[in-house]
Every structure is written in C-alpha cells, then in structure tokens.
Symmetry: C2
Subunit: 300 residues, 2 copies
DNA sequence: TAAAAATACTCCATAGGTATTTTAT
DNA sequence: ATAAAATACCTATGGAGTATTTTTA
C-alpha cells in the first residue's frame, strides 16, 4: 500500500530535483529516500522521475501524481486541523487573501473587532487580484479569499456576507447640487475613469451600468481607487466607487461628491471563497458574522 | 505521523461500530486495530469514538474527522488511478450518473459508439435526479454525472457538451398545421403539462418561458416524458420536451406534432459534472467528444 | 457476570542507516 | 573521472499477533 511517507519524499524530490538534497530535507539517508521512491513507482506502475547521475526530470504523469499527492497532503493537513479548530478556535494562524478594491476599505472596519474578540488570533492578510487568490485557495496556499462576485470560481464555494451598490463620484463643481441619484444613462461615459483591466471592480461597475467592457484602455486608467479619487479632485473626470469605500475616499467635506448609482442592484456581492473541503468553517463563520455586523454598523 | 492504516481502521469502526467486527473486516486482530485507533486519537488530540463494553458512538468531531478521512482515501484512490488512466485508458470501470430527462434520450444515441470504440470499457449507468447525483459526485460514489444546467453545483466543475431548445408538443388536432414556431405568449398555460417538482426539466421549461414555478402541482403532473407524450396523444393537454427527446417521442408520423419554442435560448445545457480533483479527465474528455459528435449526427 | 475494549508481551517485517557498486556524462 | 542514484546488508523500530486483564452495563 502506498504510504504518506513515500508521497512526502516524492514531493521533496520534486522541490529539489536532487535525491540527496531531498533526503537531507526529509532528514533521512539518500538510500532510504531512493528505495521509497523506487517502491512508490513500482506500486503505481509508472515512473515519476526520469533520473541519471546528472539530472532528475519529472515525467508528465509524474507531475499529475505529484499534484495529486499535494492535495492528499492538503486534505490530511485539514484532517489534523479539525480537532484544533474545534477545541481551540482561533488558536492557529490563518491566511486570508483579499482583492485591492476590498481590502483597504473592509479591513479597517472589521479587523479591530476581530482583534478585540480574539487577541491571540494571528491573521495574515495578502492582497492580490481575484484570479491569483482563486488559484491560491485552490492550491491551499491560503485559507480563504475575500472576493467581489460575480466572479468565476468553479470548483470553489462562496459564502456571501455583504452586498453593496456603486456610487458616482465627481467634483462638486461638475455635479448638480441637488442630485441624489444618477442612472447610467445620465452618466457621461467619456468622463468616467475606471481601474485597469484585471480589476474586477471595472467589470462590476460596467455591468451595473449595463455596459460592455469594449472601450480601449484609456489614459485615465489608474492603479488604485485612491488615485482615481485624487484625479476626480483634480477635475480630470469622474468615477464609480463601491459603498464601503465612500467614507475613506470622501472625507471631511472635501471637494468631492458621491451620489448613488440608480441601477438594479446589488452591484457587487462580497464573499468568502474556500475550497469545498476546507475544515475551519466554524472559525470562518464567526469571522463572516463579525464582518457583516461591523459593515452594517459602519457603512450605513 | 498519522498513517493511512489508522484512517482505514477508523473508517472500518465507523461502518461496524464494533472494534472486533472492524478488526475482522480489516483482517487484523482486535488488539492491532484497537491500538491503532488509540494512537490516532492521541495524535489528533481528540476522541473519535466514545466506547464502552456495550456500544461505540462517534463524537461530533470524530464524524468530521472520519468524513475527512474518506476524502483523503478518495484522493489517494485518484492518485493510484492516474497512471492506469493514462497508460490504459478505458481499462477500468467507470460509473456515470444521468438524470431521467437525459438518460433515455442521450444514451441510446451515444453508447453504441462508445462501445464500438472501446469494447473492453465497462461503463455503469445509474439514473437519479440532479440533487442525488450531485451528492454522489461529491462523495466520490460515482465518477461523474450528466446534468442539465443551469443547476446549482457549488464546489463541483462542469464540462458543457450540448445545448438545446425546448419544443412544444401537441396533438395535431390542436395545432395549426402551418405553425413552425411558437412563443411562450402563444402557449396556453393551462393546457401545459410538466413533470413533477424535483425534475429540473420543469424548472428549465418554465425558465425558457420566463414563468415562475408558482403554480400548484396539477393533476396532470406526470412521472416521465414518455407518459406525458401518451397524455398528449390522448388529447389531455400539451407539453414541452427537449430537442434530444424528439425523435424517440414523436415517431412514425404519429398524431403528435412538435414545434420549436421561439424564446431566447439555449433552453438547457447538458454537461458532465465532476469533483474538482477528479483524475480521469482524459477519458471523460474523449467521452464528451463522442457525445457531442453523436448528438450532432443524430439530433439535427 | 459477561461481552468487549485495553493492555502486556513477544515476534517479525520493514523502514532506515552505512558502505559499496553501478551508471552516465 | 566523478557525481549521483541504486544496491547490499545490517539494525532497530514499531506494527501485529496471542493471551490476559480491565471495565461497565
């Protein structure tokens, strides 16, 4: 029967592409690792590594097997985490991914409360675009990701915790003072500045306006919402921002005004994304509740 | 380090709820199994089974751990299948699930070709409703399922291979002879007979007509498309059937006519559903190609 | 008290180590 | 010639068996 040790050794060889170095990494002799790999290949009836005295290559089938070995390890890690997560929730570290158009607005609102409720909880945050985070969740490199939906997450599961609309942001000189709502028809598209392609915020904003993403990248494309707002302040155009960003972007009676985009909503849904087999769901559920509670308190 | 043997033994205990019987099932002594379980629980820092001399119960955490152990086994099975699937495709048996409104129409069109191309291939078919098949795919009880989309398959992956529209089926006495198309507005809803709730075909048909599924189960609700057609032949009403069912339902210049439902389509998409980590994708891709090819040849 | 799990104790299979050989550049 | 993987051979750990004890319904 195949053993976890064999898989462990094979994964070490994949990393180092060198039997001796892999053996060292596993704290066993080259001989022990070598025989384990040979036995594994015999049991599987295939060669994983093509090797001679100068180099080790991975066969195509071998790569499939190694990838699967990684998920076996991942599931086993999950198994070992179950009792910890149940018995001492929030005692183990957790890594969450978040996209740039959520992180800076959501986290300051919710993390203080998380820290207050669970002072010992080590939460690591990484910020990447949706497609990167989806891959990392799939590979088990992070525990979960906070994304804006709709977004294709085939094979993963989502837990929605917030829905919000977009607001049209403009310089007060360019905005009728009585205006409380605006429809996409009333928007001057040519003045609208959105983020670069790749940011899902652009897609969601366009979808909210029932527009195709067919216009060329314009000179106004910008790297972050903060920058966009600065450009709005400089009367270079207007933009659309999600509700949760409003309080940070339009502070202290600035020159900038925001009015609700009056199109059928919600315009984007914020959700936690996990692998279907992820085990620390009880902790994530608690986090999710804190998120919703804090957003309701601070966004309305 | 946790071993697969331990998990195997624990799963045997879950099945039998009896250490001696579990030991027998694993062909080891009660002592060996007992110590393995004790060691596993020690390593995990939790009790999986609450046991005395009269009964064995599973703790709630234990159940989570056992479920995870099943997926570990499932992934490991997948790993062992990789080389076989690659080196001798179609040499291992495969079980496919299919829903009742696809199976009887799709399979006769495609299985002969599958059998011709891979005479040694053992393919087992089971017929269940979508929600049952989705569960079975999730649990690894079947290799894949053939469903009609849209349908919620969170955590699974779909490979579309066919799209089709619905046709309005009526007795020729009740159908204008020149009629080639019909819109949902022109349908006499009260004469329309659909399958019972639970069959996704009903939902898809209603969606194609932009109708809500709010009407009560009527007396006309029927168990299979074939029965429905018999009722149409008996002038008891009309119905909607998917394209792939037409040739079997309306045979040899019968009393029945079918006209295309002229609403934005496609009205349903046929897809293969698998777990995200399923390994025999190369074989499924081949099957999928055969399916599309045969449907194109026999449905148009 | 009786049925069933835990434990004591023994044994052997096998994983792992050291030393050596084989192999291919 | 040499670097690196495979093999030979030995050792020791731990998994498994038998027999026995403990537990509690």
């Amino acid at each position: 029967m195949i053993s976890l040790k064999q898989l462990h050794y094979a994964l070490a060889v994949e990393k180092t592409l060198h039997f001796k170095k892999a053996a060292d990494a596993c704290h066993v002799s080259q001989s022990a690792l070598s025989t384990a790999i040979i036995e594994l290949e015999k049991q599987l009836g295939t060669t994983i590594f093509e090797r001679n005295n100068k180099q080790v290559l991975i066969t195509s089938q071998g790569q499939l097997i190694l990838n699967k070995a990684k998920t076996v390890k991942l599931e086993l890690d999950g198994l070992m985490q179950i009792s910890q997560s149940d018995n001492q929730p929030f005692s183990n570290a957790m890594t969450l991914g978040v996209i740039p158009t959520i992180g800076p607005y959501l986290l300051p609102k919710v993390l203080p409360e998380v820290r207050k409720r669970f002072p010992e909880f080590k939460m690591k945050i990484i910020e990447e675009q949706s497609h990167v985070l989806v891959d990392m969740v799939r590979n088990g490199e992070i525990d979960a990701a906070i994304l804006a939906l709709p977004y294709p997450i085939e094979g993963l599961m989502s837990f929605d915790f917030w829905q919000e609309d977009f607001y049209w942001v403009s310089h007060k000189d360019e905005c009728p003072s009585q205006l409380k709502e605006i429809t996409s028809e009333e928007l001057e598209i040519e003045k609208l500045m959105l983020l670069k392609d790749g940011h899902c915020l652009k897609d969601h904003a366009l979808a909210a306006c029932s527009l195709q993403n067919d216009k060329q990248d314009s000179d106004f494309d910008s790297a972050s919402l903060h920058t966009l707002i600065q450009m709005v302040a400089g009367k270079l155009g207007t933009t659309l921002v999600p509700q949760m960003a409003l309080d940070q972007l339009i502070y202290n009676e600035s020159e900038i005004r925001a009015v609700h985009l009056n199109e059928p909503g919600p315009h984007r849904t914020i959700a936690l994304i996990i692998r279907p087999n992820y085990v620390r769901t009880n902790e994530l559920t608690t986090l999710k509740e804190i998120f919703t509670e804090q957003l309701n308190a601070k966004c309305c």
